[in-house]
């Protein structure tokens, strides 16, 4: 690695970090086998790497074992081979996380890539994905990620994900609508809502991941639930209903 005075750091295949951040906005994967990644998040690679679309081809076995979200298979690819692969996403902060026989639920747009030791499933909460198992995954956030422990109430837009704790519930703050002035606010919109009357409430033991701003990253499509899933499945449409 050379350090020209004040200039950018020059990397090559040998000096790129192994499964670590190159800088806050780029992550280097030491590929030896396979990784799942979202389409379009690879910015450069060294070595022999093939990118296979999910849904057909020689990787059916791997996909059957690790990828249980067929409805957004189109947004994912499998990188196979040996080499160093750089991941980045629109200059958002990138971090890697290790799961050890754990579970973590994350907003679909924030997840960039994961190791096949993990299994990807669609959360029953729309817009979120759950990772189960052991391995490393890479996620992006708008501003650095901050870990907090429940009990805590979180702005819905600031939530990146949560690990090991029960799924959140909605918390609605009625105090802002109280009294005469509150009534006027509710009726006329004069004075406005505080914008903080609605939060996600977490309880139990675990970790909640927050990003440093309430500006959301653009959503990635998680796919819906098949209409044939039947009654009792959140998000599934009843046959004959229109929306």
């Amino acid at each position: 690695m050379t350090h020209p005075a004040g200039g950018p750091v020059v990397h090559d295949a040998a000096t790129l970090p192994s499964n670590d951040n190159v800088n806050p906005y780029a992550f280097s994967v030491d590929l030896e086998g396979q990784w799942f990644l979202q389409k379009g998040k690879m910015i450069a690679y060294y070595g022999q790497i093939d990118f296979h679309a999910i849904g057909h081809g020689p990787l059916d076995h791997l996909i059957a074992a690790n990828f249980h979200s067929p409805l957004h298979a189109s947004a994912w690819v499998v990188a196979q081979g040996r080499g160093k692969m750089l991941l980045a996403d629109r200059a958002y902060d990138i971090n890697s996380y290790d799961l050890d026989e754990g579970n973590l639920t994350i907003r679909s747009g924030n997840l960039l890539a994961f190791q096949p030791g993990l299994t990807l499933k669609q959360s029953i909460i729309p817009g979120f994905l759950t990772l189960l198992g052991t391995g490393k995954f890479v996620a992006a956030s708008n501003g650095a990620v901050h870990f907090v422990e429940p009990p805590i109430r979180v702005d819905p837009q600031a939530l990146v994900g949560w690990a090991d704790c029960p799924s959140p519930c909605h918390h609605y703050d009625h105090a802002y609508m109280r009294g005469v002035l509150g009534g006027i606010r509710a009726l006329t919109g004069l004075g406005g809502a505080s914008g903080e009357e609605h939060q996600f409430e977490f309880s139990g033991a675990g970790q909640v991941l927050l990003q440093s701003t309430e500006q959301l990253m653009p959503e990635a499509d998680t796919g819906g639930v098949p209409a044939s899933a039947g009654p009792g499945v959140p998000g599934a449409q009843r046959p004959g209903s229109r929306s």
Partner: protein, 216 residues
């Protein structure tokens, strides 16, 4: 209550009973404990007359009152956050840059023309501050936002500081500011350096400058 910086874009504040805080609406990211957020219809301190004053001055950023006991995490728009502890001085900052501040601080508005008359008004236009700016005075803490990181430049008597109006964020202390122009024939024929206007700050205090020329 001083703010604790969690990272460059996130601050944590402790709320104790009996001490109010004001924050920009929508800037709360998470909280613990029994904390209530009430939209402040008058948009800050003082009564209805203060509200009208702020509305007229265009310094009425939607604020909410934060009360109760617990800790609150604030962040907004992915902007960098800077915190300042005031001990009696006055901080001059644009209302829309304010993220949160202690209720113990007295909030006011200042007419730009009160410093330098017509040139003050022109200065307000150039810096995007408009005709008025917000002042906070007293003992307490302020968290404000900037695009890119913020750095502080000390101003000492006889050593004025020149700042690009677009990079100016806030200043505190006993500071006179005036608009320095460097308009020559190049600007007239459209071949200017793009740095025709600078803010010249002199006196005793500190100016906060952001590492970007982008407004919020």
């Amino acid at each position: 209550m001083p703010f604790t910086r969690v990272n460059s874009k996130l601050v944590e504040a402790t709320v104790v009973p009996g001490q109010r805080m004001f924050s920009q609406r929508g800037a709360m990211l998470a909280y613990r404990g029994a904390v209530t957020f009430t939209p402040s219809i008058v948009g800050g301190q003082g009564g209805v007359m203060s509200m009208i004053g702020r509305r007229v001055a265009g310094e009425a950023t939607p604020l909410m009152t934060v009360e109760g006991s617990g800790t609150v995490l604030f962040g907004h728009g992915g902007h960098h956050i800077h915190t300042v502890d005031l001990s009696g001085e006055t901080l001059y900052v644009e209302a829309d840059r304010l993220l949160a501040f202690d209720g113990s601080l007295a909030q006011g508005t200042m007419f730009m023309g009160s410093q330098g008359g017509v040139m003050g008004v022109i200065r307000g236009q150039v810096t995007g501050q408009g005709l008025f700016t917000t002042t906070l005075q007293g003992k307490g803490s302020v968290a404000f936002m900037a695009h890119g990181g913020v750095f502080e430049l000390p101003i000492a008597p006889g050593r004025p500081v020149h700042v690009d109006p677009q990079a100016y964020v806030a200043h505190r202390g006993d500071v006179r500011n005036k608009l320095a122009t460097a308009i020559g024939w190049r600007e007239m024929v459209g071949r200017g350096s793009g740095e025709a206007f600078q803010l010249e700050l002199s006196g005793q205090g500190t100016v906060y400058v952001q590492a970007s020329e982008e407004k919020l």
